[in-house]
Symmetry: C2
Subunit: 174 residues, 2 copies
DNA sequence: CCATTTGTTTAGAAAGTTCTAAACGTTCGT
DNA sequence: ACGAACGTTTAGAACTTTCTAAACAAATGG
């Protein structure tokens, strides 16, 4: 790791590994993405597994995951049988995709569960008007409210065409 | 699990377990929180470990984690040597805390790394004006921009007193 | 003081995850 | 049609995380 280009590549691989790890993706996905992001030319599986010193199988699996999340796409190079890969560089698009395919689903699921429990709780309260039943209804309602709001927020972010531009309406508070 | 109150409690424990798990906390933290959230009275360690059928040690560790994130607080009951615990019910407060103590730090760290790499990259470009160096500068700049924007967003959310009320300024887009 | 009750720590077991190397099936050039 | 060059799948090894049971330390009441 003596030349600067190499140093920078390694640095970004490390940083991206950390980021993907934090967001619940595998570390290797981040490293692969970092490698591709700084490469002017698309890269092959073999090249990448050599660069990261990981097995070809591992590389294959993680590249497929990256493709599944639209962080990387396949590119064909004429006259070469190998698959080539390049990084998706539109981060807002990637974020929208993840919000849509992962975050939103999780919020919906949570909302469903809690709404169901609230329903049950209200029925139980009608059947037997105990203080504990009333308490449960009140708390579950509060929780439902909260999740509903978050769910709406994600819904809005998800569909914004340019998250960045719209973002700073928020800053003029007070 | 025949009576309704029990059913509801178990249901919320399951839902909260799922939620905390999704957000990178332990599942048991969620289950404990769910249990406390539906309890009108503060609960003891022993009671909770019995309810969840987990060891006392495990309960202790996870309750401490919940306290660390301000999701649960300790309560003293006069004449009893045991510690009692109750759920924090202000979700916005909890979210702000997590943003401040976890999310923001991670964004700052990412921004630092990338800014550093961009710096290095610019120096390298000055030393030797290759096409590849220019490419790296351009891409890293774009990435820095992105992270910076996200970082600012988190910063804003973090300091909003009432996230909920301010949220729907966003909806009048178009 | 001592015995008991309490929360915490710890060492190792159990469970879960991720990795590699090798086997596999497909495609393509010859 | 054959062999080499691919990407994918898989079985099990290596590593990481999480859990339990038991040891421990601190505090309390008698």
């Amino acid at each position: 790791m003596s030349n600067p280009a190499e140093e920078i590549r390694e640095g970004l691989m490390e940083a991206m590994g950390r980021i993907t790890s934090f967001w619940g993706f595998s570390k290797i996905m981040g490293q692969l993405y970092g490698l591709l992001y700084l490469s002017p030319k698309p890269l092959t599986l073999d090249l990448m597994s050599e660069q990261l010193s990981i097995s070809k199988g591992n590389t294959s699996i993680n590249i497929r995951a990256l493709e599944r999340w639209n962080m990387v796409r396949t590119v064909w190079v004429k006259g070469d049988r190998k698959d080539y890969y390049e990084a998706e560089t539109d981060f807002w698009k990637i974020v929208r995709g993840v919000l849509r395919e992962r975050e939103k689903k999780e919020f919906d699921l949570a909302l469903d569960s809690v709404s169901n429990l609230l329903q049950k709780s209200r029925e139980a309260q009608k059947a037997a008007k105990t203080a504990e039943a009333a308490f449960a209804v009140e708390r579950l309602k509060k929780l439902e409210d909260f999740i509903q709001t978050m769910d709406k927020l994600v819904g809005v972010l998800m569909t914004l065409e340019d998250l960045k531009r719209n973002l700073f309406g928020l800053t003029k508070k007070k």
